[in-house]
Each structure stands twice: as structure tokens, then as C-alpha cells.
Amino acid sequence: MQSVPALEWHLYQQMYLIRRTEETLLDLFSQGLLFGTVHTCIGQEAIAVGVVNAIDKSKDVIWSNHRGHGHFLAYCDNIEGLIAEVMGKETGVCRGIGGSQHLHYNNFYTNGILGGTVACAVGSAMAEKKKNSGAITVVFLGDGAMGEGIVYESLNMASLWKLPVLFVLEHNQYAQTTPTSLAHTGDLSNRPKAFGIETREIKADNVISVNRLAQECVHKVRTQQKPLFITMHTYRFAPHSKGDDVRPAAEIETAKRSDPLTHMRWALAQINERRVASIENEVDMRIIEAVETVKQQLVLAPEMFFAGRQP
């Protein structure tokens, strides 16, 4: 039996946890137990897990987007805080006020408005540099968000001011229902290059390779104090949010053949199938428990929320 480093088990555990948590959220949605919007990263987990496990969680800053559950769970493993938030309970990380698209926890931030997060990320990188904290900032954005002008303003400033920010483009070929070819010209990686930013590119179906590349990049950003941009080619298996999928079924099926989760499961199962099962079992139990707990929880008391009103 070949020995596998603890890291790999950990990365698999996180990917599985994200997948199952999001599947659970979709179930809860179908059951009418959850309201609003949910954007899952099913199929893209290798990015969240690979990248977030490359940073220093004690100090580095993350800016995520509308599709942020995976980044969040990889960052803090707080299943209950996330489910409660999405279900609108007071125990959610933002007490149910932000919801799925507006998460904040320690150094983790998201916003439901595309593009602007990238400027904020450049700002947090600048702040940490000024404070000499040694922290870097990672910002996740989609191919669609590359349509926003503020992204280019931000690339320019990050490069101009030599800021420690790692841009992670999750290129899943679609923005909602729009294929990249109807939204962009040229290779998206050329754009950061034009602003003097070094780039990397990877097919993000193997969490180990993603993590290895991310580690290299994080190190570079931290030591050289300048930005770097990684394009991660990926695909989401689930609809944009719920039931709004117009992609060809065959295309989705083909993409699923490079499911990062299945592949890693297969590899690890070769080594220790029981361990895989036990990891999964543990995660399943945690999620079930989290859901049961959250179901019992309350919505934030109105007087608590409205106390924060402006006069």
C-alpha cells in the first residue's frame, strides 16, 4: 500500500465536503426550506480547495464572489455557519442577513455585485502591504466578471503599485447562460499580461496540481510583492443557480468525465478504500447534523436587526 501524504486526504475531504454541502443546499431549496438564490460550485471544487489550502489562513485575505460556498468552506470549514446563513438563521456567519452571496468571516469577504470585489481585493492587498503584515490577498472571479471595467482598473493598479494579490480566474466557459465566445474576444489570459502581470494557466481537474501551482504562486506573490494571475479552466456541473441551465446535456456529460472529485476518489480508493468511505461518512454525518441543528435555529430577532437602522 502506497503512502499518501496527509495533505491529499485533507484536500479530498474538503472537496467532498463542499460537494455534499452544496448538494444539500440544493435539496433544501427544492424542499422550500431555503429561499433566494444559491449558486453552487459543483464541478469546480478543485479550485477552491487547491487554492485556499495554499494560503496562510491565519492572515491572508480572500475575496470571493456569488459562487463562494466552496471558497468559504475551504477557508474555515464552517458548515453550520454557512448553511445557517443561506437558510437565513441568526447563527449564520452574517446572522442570515447577507445570505449566500454576501459572506464575511475573519478575513473572508464576498459581494453579489460582480467585478467590484477585484478592486476591494487590490485595496486589501495594499493595506496589508502598508501594514507590513506579510499577508497576501486572493481574489476569485469568473470569466463573466471579466466583462466589468473595474477589473482592468484593478489589474492596472495592482501592477502599478506592486501589490501582493493573486487573481484566480475560474474560467468555466459560461456566465450564467452566455458562453465565453459571446462575451469576450481573445484569450482572457492575455489581458492581465497586457498590464504587466505574470500569468499561469491550468486545467483545474486535479486538486493536487492546482494546489501545487497555487502554492508556488502564493509564495511568489508573497516574496516578490507583486500580483500574479492564474486562469483555471473548469466547468460547473450544476445550473447557474437553480433550473436555469441551457447548456447541451452532452457537453455537461463530457465535462463530468473530468470531475475532480471522482478522479481523486478513484485514486485514493486504490490506496485505502475504507479510509475514503470513513472520510465521506464523517462528512455526511456532519452535514446531516448541521442541517438538523440549523433547522431548529431561529431567524435573527427583528429588534436586533432593525436596531442597526439609520435614524
Binding site: 433566494g36 466583462g147 466589468e148
Partner: protein, 330 residues
């Protein structure tokens, strides 16, 4: 039966059929998806050259629409959620609204920017706002907000003939609603004879009303309110303008001078909204005839919470409005 959505879809089709200078732009508006709220459903199949799906570049494509409008086309732009109109503020305020007056030119300029607004769907702080207050009082912008008592498609057809930029607000909760007309309404409904009509509703056509209620847009609480008040024998004169960026419609003062009591309801959060100006105009027109201070109800002065129960409490709702009516009547 025609729904709000159906009317918009129908009239968009007609507009594109009859006028080859009309075109439609926005994010994810192509078939089979047909836009986040389905307003453009079927359109790109019929008019592939004039239905243009855009990158996620709200400022940019409003700018593109500005350029097109100056060159004689009539773009109808969809902003997926009204909350994103912040990104187009410069193109609307410093470009679209200024061209005609700044160039002192009799420009043929037509542009409509459609956007779904409002809460009630648990979409959270950045996908639920009524941000029209951003543009109220900016000269040379027309702001329209058809309710279910208006015909939104007809209004859209007039909007694209209107000179200068038009912001066209569609409350997201209305899309699935059946339009209410004098024929199918349980309450008396009248529409003024204007392109952007003022709707007048009452729960008693015989009696003088006790109170003037003024609102616009979503207002799905209205039928229940009329019913409830009728049960209490409180007679309301309800006025629902569809054109917002102008001083109070004269009929508002007429009604208010009969009732002496006015409640204004708007969904936008916080003070400094539409209602404040309408209240100003009314007190200015007929101070002596007010028997009680004019009251404005708006959503609470904070962000819109994602969690449903609190969202309901955040927005103006039946209970808050009833209570305010009693307060003003007492």
C-alpha cells in the same frame, strides 16, 4: 388573461416588428433562456440581428446604447437587476440625460433602460433594491414604473418614443401577476388619458374618500388593503402614477384637498425618496386643506436582509400601511 410579463413580451415583439430601428440589449437575453425574468423570451429567435446579448459590462453597454441612440437607433436595454444600475450612473447622468440640453440640439434620441426592481424574493442586499431615488430629480430623465393597473407593454411602447433617456422599472413580483383592468377589478379603476397614465382606484365610488393613498410600482398589498378598509368603512382614494421624475400630478392635489389626509407609500429604503417630494408639492399646493400631516411610508432605513421573515418586515407591508392610515385618520 394577460400577465404583466405577457404584456411586456407581446409589446416588445410588436415594437421590433413595426420599427426596424428598435433593438434590445442586455445580459443573457437570448433564447432559449430569454433573460433572467424572461421578458425577452422568444425575441432573439424572431429578431436575431436586433437582440444583442452583452458581456457583463453595464456601464459599457449603456454607453454603447447612448452612441446608438445618438445615431438614430432606439435601443431598449435590460439591466438584469435594478441594483446594478449604479454601474451605469455616469452614462445615464453625465451622458444620456445631458445630450439634448448640453448640445442644444434637436436630437432624435430614444433610449429605454428596463430593470427589474424590488424585494420579496429573498435575493438579499444587492439584488432587491428600489434605487430609483438615485435618478429622481436628475433633469431630463423620464422614470416610469408601471403597476399591474397599467399596461406595462403599452407604456414601454410609448417610452421608446419619448425623447431623452427613460428608466423603466418593473417590480419583480409583478411579472407573474394578471393585469388589473376596469373590467376585471373588484374595485373601481380609472386611468387618466395620458401616455403614462395615473391610475385611480377606490373602494367606494359613492362616498367622498376619507384619505388619499398615493403609491407606485409593486404595491401588491393594495387589493387586500382596499378590501380591509372597506370592511372598516374607510374609503380610500388611491392614486398610482406611472411617471415618477416629475412634480406631483395635479390630480393628487385635487384628491388631497378633498380628503385632507394623505399617506404615501414607496418601496425604496430610507428617507429622501419620491414621497418626500410629492408631500412637498401637496403641502405647497394646499397647505390649508390638510387636516393631518402627510405621512410617507418607505422601507426601513437599512439594507435589505436576505432572510425572508426580516425582509417582509423591512418592506412596506399591509400592516404598516393600515397602522399609518389609522394614525393619520385619528
Amino acid at each position: 388573461m394577460t400577465t404583466y410579463l405577457g404584456s411586456l413580451q407581446l409589446h416588445l415583439q410588436q415594437l421590433l416588428s413595426v420599427d426596424s430601428t428598435v433593438l434590445v440589449m442586455g445580459e443573457d437575453i437570448l433564447d432559449p433562456y430569454g433573460g433572467a425574468f424572461k421578458v425577452t423570451k422568444g425575441l432573439s429567435t424572431k429578431f436575431p440581428d436586433r437582440v444583442i446579448t452583452t458581456p457583463i459590462s453595464e456601464a459599457g453597454f449603456i454607453g454603447v446604447a447612448n452612441g446608438m441612440a445618438l445615431r438614430g437607433l432606439k435601443p431598449i436595454v435590460e439591466i438584469m437587476f435594478g441594483d446594478f444600475i449604479t454601474l451605469g450612473a455616469d452614462q445615464i447622468i453625465n451622458y444620456a440625460a445631458k445630450f439634448a440640453a448640453m448640445y442644444q440640439s434637436a436630437l432624435e434620441y430614444h433610449l429605454v433602460i428596463r430593470m427589474p426592481v424590488g424585494g420579496g424574493r429573498g435575493y438579499g442586499p444587492t439584488h432587491s433594491q428600489c434605487l430609483e431615488k438615485l435618478f429622481l430629480g436628475i433633469p431630463h430623465i423620464t422614470i416610469l414604473a408601471p403597476s399591474i393597473y397599467h399596461d406595462p407593454g403599452l407604456m414601454l411602447a410609448s417610452a421608446i418614443q419619448q425623447p431623452g433617456p427613460v428608466l423603466f422599472l418593473e417590480h419583480k413580483l409583478l411579472y407573474s401577476q394578471e393585469l388589473i383592468t376596469p373590467a376585471n377589478s373588484p374595485f373601481a379603476v380609472n386611468l387618466s388619458d395620458e401616455s403614462f397614465p395615473l391610475v385611480r382606484l377606490t373602494n367606494n365610488t359613492e362616498k367622498t374618500a376619507d384619505l388619499t393613498l398615493i403609491t407606485y410600482g409593486g404595491a401588491l398589498w393594495l387589493p387586500a388593503l382596499l378590501q380591509k378598509m372597506a370592511e372598516e368603512e374607510i374609503w380610500l382614494d388611491v392614486l398610482v402614477p406611472s411617471s415618477l421624475n416629475q412634480k406631483a400630478h395635479p390630480t393628487l392635489a385635487v384628491s388631497a384637498s378633498h380628503t385632507g389626509r394623505v399617506v404615501i407609500v414607496e418601496e425604496g429604503a430610507g428617507p429622501f425618496g419620491w414621497g418626500a417630494q410629492i408631500a412637498y408639492d401637496l403641502q405647497h399646493a394646499m397647505l390649508n386643506r390638510l387636516t393631518a400631516p402627510i405621512a410617507v411610508i418607505h422601507a426601513e432605513n437599512t439594507i435589505i436582509p436576505a432572510t425572508q421573515a426580516l425582509e417582509q418586515l423591512h418592506l412596506p407591508n399591509l400592516q404598516k400601511i393600515e397602522q399609518k392610515i389609522y394614525e393619520v385618520l385619528s
